[in-house]
Symmetry: D2
C-alpha cells in the first residue's frame, strides 16, 4: 500500500534526524530558551525581514491555533473564518473549549474575501442588539486552505486592509505554508505574510519536520506574555530545543533552504498528478495548485486505485463519481506518483 492520504505519513527529513543526533549530548536550558531556538528565531526574522517579530515554536497545529486565538480574543469575541476552516470543523471544539465562538463565513473553495469580513463586521455593529451577539474579534485564514487553494497577494492585501480598518487582528494558519509558497500560482513571500498578517505560522509537521509550528507575531499588541499562554495551553516543550533544531535545519539558507526545496519537490509531483488527471479527462473538485489534489474519478477507478493506494474519499459527486484527495509531500517518491498515474 502506498500512502497518499495525508502529508504526515513518514517521519522527517533525514537532515533533521542527523542534526538531532549530532546535538544530542549538548546540555541546554529548557522551554525554548536555548541557542538552537535563538538561532532558528534569527533565521525566521531574517526570512520575514521582520527584525522585531516574536517567534515561538509550538508542537502542533491545534495547539498553535488555540493558543494564538485564545491569546487575542476578549471573552465576548469570536473568530471569523471560512465555514470549512480547520478550527471550525476539525479541532474537536478546541476554540470553543477556550471560550470562543467560531463565526463561520460561507466558502466553496476554502477561502474567504475581504468583502465578507467587512459585511460580517458591519452586520454586527448595525444590529441594535449587538451586545447580545458574539463580537467579531479577529480573522483566521489558512494558506494553503483545506481545499488546496491559495490566496493571491492582491487578495491577502485586501483582507489585511479591511482587518486593519476594522481593528481585527489577522491570523494566518500556515500548517501547509511551504506548499503554498512553492505553488506555481503563488505571488506571496514570507516577508509579505509578515507584513500583511498580525500573526501567522510556518508549518513544520506537514513539511518535513517530526513536528512543530513556528508562530511569528509581528503585531506589537499581540506580543506581550505570549509565553504564559503557551505554557498554560500545554505547548511549552521541556526540551524546546527539539523545535529550534528542526527549524534551523529546515530554514537555514532562507529562500534557498531545505524547507523551500522539499516543498518544491511536493508541488512538482502534485502538478504532475494534476496534469495526468486532466489529460485523462477527469474534472477536479477544486482547482488546486498545491500539494492537495481533488480529482473526481469514476467509482470503478476509485475502487481499482484503493487496492494499491491509500487516499481520502472527499465527497460523492454523482451516482458514478467520487471526489478523492491525493496529497503529495516532501517525502513522496516520484515512482509512487508514476505508479499511481499508471493506474488511472
Amino acid at each position: 500500500m502506498i500512502h497518499f492520504e495525508c502529508d504526515y505519513t513518514e517521519g522527517c527529513h533525514p537532515a533533521i534526524l542527523e542534526k538531532l543526533t549530532e546535538t544530542n549530548d549538548e546540555q541546554t536550558s529548557g522551554y525554548g530558551l536555548d541557542p538552537h531556538c535563538e538561532h532558528a528565531r534569527a533565521i525566521i526574522r531574517d526570512l520575514c525581514k521582520s527584525p522585531d517579530a516574536d517567534v515561538h515554536f509550538l508542537v502542533g497545529g491545534t495547539q498553535a491555533n488555540t493558543t494564538v486565538i485564545a491569546s487575542i480574543l476578549r471573552p465576548y469575541q469570536g473568530v471569523l473564518c471560512a465555514v470549512t476552516g480547520h478550527i471550525n470543523v476539525h479541532e474537536t471544539g478546541a476554540i470553543e473549549a477556550a471560550g470562543h465562538k467560531v463565526l463561520p463565513l460561507e466558502s466553496t473553495d476554502g477561502k474567504i474575501t475581504a468583502a465578507q469580513i467587512r459585511k460580517a463586521y458591519d452586520i454586527h455593529y448595525h444590529d441594535s442588539e449587538h451586545e447580545h451577539i458574539v463580537q467579531p474579534g479577529m480573522v483566521y485564514i489558512s494558506q494553503s486552505t483545506e481545499n488546496g487553494t491559495i490566496y493571491s497577494k492582491e487578495e491577502l492585501q485586501s483582507i489585511s486592509d479591511i482587518c486593519r480598518k476594522c481593528s481585527l487582528p489577522l491570523f494566518l494558519d500556515g500548517a501547509r505554508l511551504g506548499y503554498a509558497l512553492a505553488s506555481p500560482k503563488n505571488d506571496l513571500t514570507m516577508e509579505d505574510l509578515a507584513s500583511l498578517c498580525d500573526v501567522f505560522y510556518i508549518g513544520g509537521t506537514k513539511v518535513g519536520a517530526l513536528f512543530g509550528e513556528a508562530v511569528v507575531i509581528t503585531s506589537p499588541t499581540l506580543k506581550p506574555n505570549f509565553r504564559y499562554m503557551i505554557k498554560q495551553r500545554g505547548g511549552m516543550l521541556a526540551k524546546g530545543r527539539l523545535l529550534g533544531i528542526q527549524f534551523e535545519t529546515l530554514l537555514a539558507g532562507g529562500e534557498d533552504s531545505l524547507y523551500f526545496e522539499i516543498s518544491n519537490h511536493a508541488i512538482e509531483l502534485a502538478i504532475k498528478l494534476k496534469e495526468a488527471f486532466l489529460k485523462k479527462g477527469y474534472r477536479l473538485l477544486f482547482d488546486s495548485f498545491t500539494n492537495q489534489q481533488y480529482p473526481i474519478l469514476p467509482d470503478n477507478i476509485v475502487d481499482k486505485l484503493s487496492k494499491s493506494f491509500s487516499f481520502s474519499t472527499w465527497s460523492k459527486v454523482d451516482d458514478d463519481h467520487t471526489a478523492i484527495r491525493i496529497c503529495t509531500s516532501w517525502a513522496t517518491r516520484p515512482e509512487a506518483v508514476e505508479n499511481l498515474i499508471d493506474h488511472l
Copy 2:
C-alpha cells in the same frame, strides 16, 4: 408610543406584586429552600404529572440555557440546534464561554426535525476522524421558536424518539411556553413535555413574571448536583423565594391558572392581529399561531406605523416591503391592538 417590540415591556401581573407585598415580612431561608419554592415545585410536578421531577428556579433565559447545557455536556460535546436558535445567535456566546460548540442545523422557520438530528448523529459517527470533530451531545429546541412556530405532538414525539435512540438528552427552551400552549394549533400538554423531554423550562419572564424560569428535570441522570451548577453559573438567587412566590402565583390551579389565562389573552390578540393582516392582503413571513406575528408590509405602512408603535424590523423582503415582528403579551391591551389594526 405603544410598545409591541417584545413581550417584556411591562412589569408583571399585578397578582405577583400583591403576593410579594403580602409575604414581604416573612423570614425564610435563602437559595430556593423556602416554603414558597417548595409549594411552587409541588404545583409544577402536579401540572407535569411528574412526581419525581426536580424543579429549579432560575432568574433568566440565558442563565437557564447555559446552566442546563453546561450541566449536560462533556467537554468534547456540542449541542445540536436550529441555526436560528437563541443559543446560537443571541446569547453573546454564553454556550461557547462554557466551553461548548453550538452545532447548527438548517432551519427556515425556527424548527428542526427528527431526521436532521438523526443525520447529524450518523454523519458524526460515520466519519473515520470523528474524534477530531465535536461530538453531538444533546439537542436544544424552543417552544415556541424565535419565529413564532410550534412543534406538534407528533413532531416532538419523533424528535424525542430519535434522541432516546441516540442517547442525546432533549432540552426544550420554554421561555415563551405559555404562548405555545395557548396557541390554537397546540396539541401538547405540560405532561407531554415532561414525558418527551429530559429537561425543559417554563418561562416566567415573558409570561407575566417580573423574571424567572422554572427548569423541570425529568431525566434521572441529569438531576444530581444541579444546584452546584446553578450557584456556579450565578443563578442561585439569595432571596430564592421571589421565584417561588412568582411561580406559585402564576401556576396555582394548574391548567386553570393565571399562567394559562394570561397566555390565552396574548394569543387571542395575536390571532386578531394576524387575521387583520391577512384580511388586508398582507403576506406573513412565518405562519405563526403564537404571540409573535411577522407580517410583510409595504414600506410606507411600516413608516406610518412606526410613528405610533414600536416593533422590530425583521428583514427586508423586497424593494418595497419589510417583514416586521409584532409581539403581544399577557399585558397587551385590546385597545392597543385595535389601534394598530386601524393604522394598517
Copy 3:
C-alpha cells in the same frame, strides 16, 4: 423562630414594592436601557462624584464578581484575594469556571494588606520561571469582609497606591457596603471608593433590595464592552428596569437616602448586640463594627439560643465554647434584638 443567620431573610424595603407597583404598567425598553436605570445611574454617579463612571446593574453577587473578574483578567492571570474571600470559598468555583485561578493571601480577619499585594507581585516577577506560574492580574477585596471587618481610608489608600504602581486593577466587592459605610469605625465615603478603586459595587440584595448589585466602573480601560460580558454571563435582566427602580428608590437623596438610613438601623442594632455580648463577659472572634457579629459563647448558651433563634455556627473555639455569627439587617426588629439579649 427569629432569624439572625443572614441579611436576606426578608423580602425588601416596602418602599421598593410600592415603587414597583406604581411603575408596573409603564412600558419601557429592556436590558437596563430604560429611564429608571438611567435615573439610578445619575444618582450613583452623583453620590460617587464620578460623572464619567459607568454604572451597571446585575442581579447578584456571584454574577457581579464573576462578570467583573472575567472582564478584567487575561487568560493567564489570576486574582489576588484573602484566603477567606467569598470568591475563594463560596462561589462553587465560579471564577475558575471562567478560567482564572484565585490567588489566596493569608488573612485572619478577612482583610489583606498593601504589603501582601506588593510581596505577591514581587515574588511572581522575581521567579525566573514566572511564565510557568499564574500572573497576578488584579486584586479583590470586600467591604465589609466576610468577617465583619472594614478597611480604613488609610488602608484602602495604601492598597490603591500599590495596585496602581503594579498596574493591578482594584475591585471592591460591596455586597455589604451599606453596613460598612454605616459602621462607627468607617472613615470612607462612596466618593473615596470611586476614586481609590477601579471598579466596585454597591450591594442591594443584602441592604434592602429584592436583589441587585450596582457595579461602578471608574477605570477608563475597564469600561468598553462590559455589557457584552453581562449578557454572556447571564446577568442582563430582560426587565432591567427592576434594578433601576430598586436603586433609585434606595439611593435617591444620596447620603440622606433610604440606603444609608436602613444601613444605620442595622448597625445600631448590631452594636447594641456587641455591647451586650461584651457586657456579659463574652469574647468576640472578630472585632466587628458592622452588621455581622461573632460572639464566642458557652455551648449551653448556644444551645439555649438555638431554640428560639436561627444563626450560623462559625467555629468551635474550645471544648466548651463556640463562635457564632449573628447578622442584623435593614429588616431586623429592635424587639428581636432585645429578645436575643434577654436570652444571653
Copy 4:
C-alpha cells in the same frame, strides 16, 4: 558549565534516535493509530499486568495533567492535591483554564495522606452550604513528588482505599516515575500503580525520551472518548508514532528495559551525591531517595559551586545557608557527579 538544574537538559537516549532513524521511511497512519503505538501499548499493558488498560501517548506533562483532569471532573468539581503540587503552582493555571479549582492540601514534603483526603471530603459534605463550595471530584498525587519524596505501597494503598470509598478517582502524575521506581526506598511496582490508581502516567520527557508521557487508564468509567479530549486539548500528535517508537524503545523488556536501567543509573548517582552531602555534614531540606536532591549548603559553597555548575536555588534557610536542588538524570555522567562532589 555542567547542568544539574533539571532532568531534561540533554536530548534523549541514543537508542531512541537510532530507532527513529531506522523507522523514518515507514509510512504509517497518524494520530497514534500506527503499529509502533500499538506495540508500545501492548508492552505497557503487560508491564502493568492490566490487559484491559487504555494507553494514550501525550506530548508533555502539562498536557497530560490538564487532559486527564478535564476529562474526569464535572464543571463544579475540583481536584485535591498537595499545595506544592505541580498543577497548583507550575502550570500557569492550566487546570483553572479548563474550568476547575485546584483544592490544595497542606504538605511539607510534597506528599498528602489518606486522612487529609478523607477530612477534605467530610468537611465538604458536612457543610450545610456545600452547594456553594467546589466539590472534591478527584485526587492528584505525583510519584516522585516535586520534593523528591515517594509514596510507599502502604501509603498509596491507604490513599487508594479512601478514594474508592469516597468515589474520588485517583490520578498519579508519573513525570518522574522511573526515578521513583528506581529509588532504594521504593516498594511499588508498575502493576501496583495500575491496580491502586484509576489513571496514571509513565513519564518519558524526564526519563530518556525526547518528549512524551504514557497515560494508563484502568478505570472503566474514565476510558470512553478520551481521544476526543486529547485532540481538543492539543495533544493528538499528527505523527503519533514518534511517541510509540520512543516508548517501545524505552520499555521493551519490561522491568529489564532501558527505562529501568537508565532510571537506576540516575538514582545511583543521586544517592552518591546525597551521601557526599551528608558526609560533609550538610543537612537536607527533604529526605529524598530519588533523582532530586535538596542539600542545605553554606552560601559560600553555593557561590563556589555556581561558577561551574548550574542548579536551582530552592529556598533561603537562614542568613548563611541556602537549600538548592540538584537533579541527576539518565544522562548524568559519573564524572560530573565526582566533579561536583570535589567542589563541596
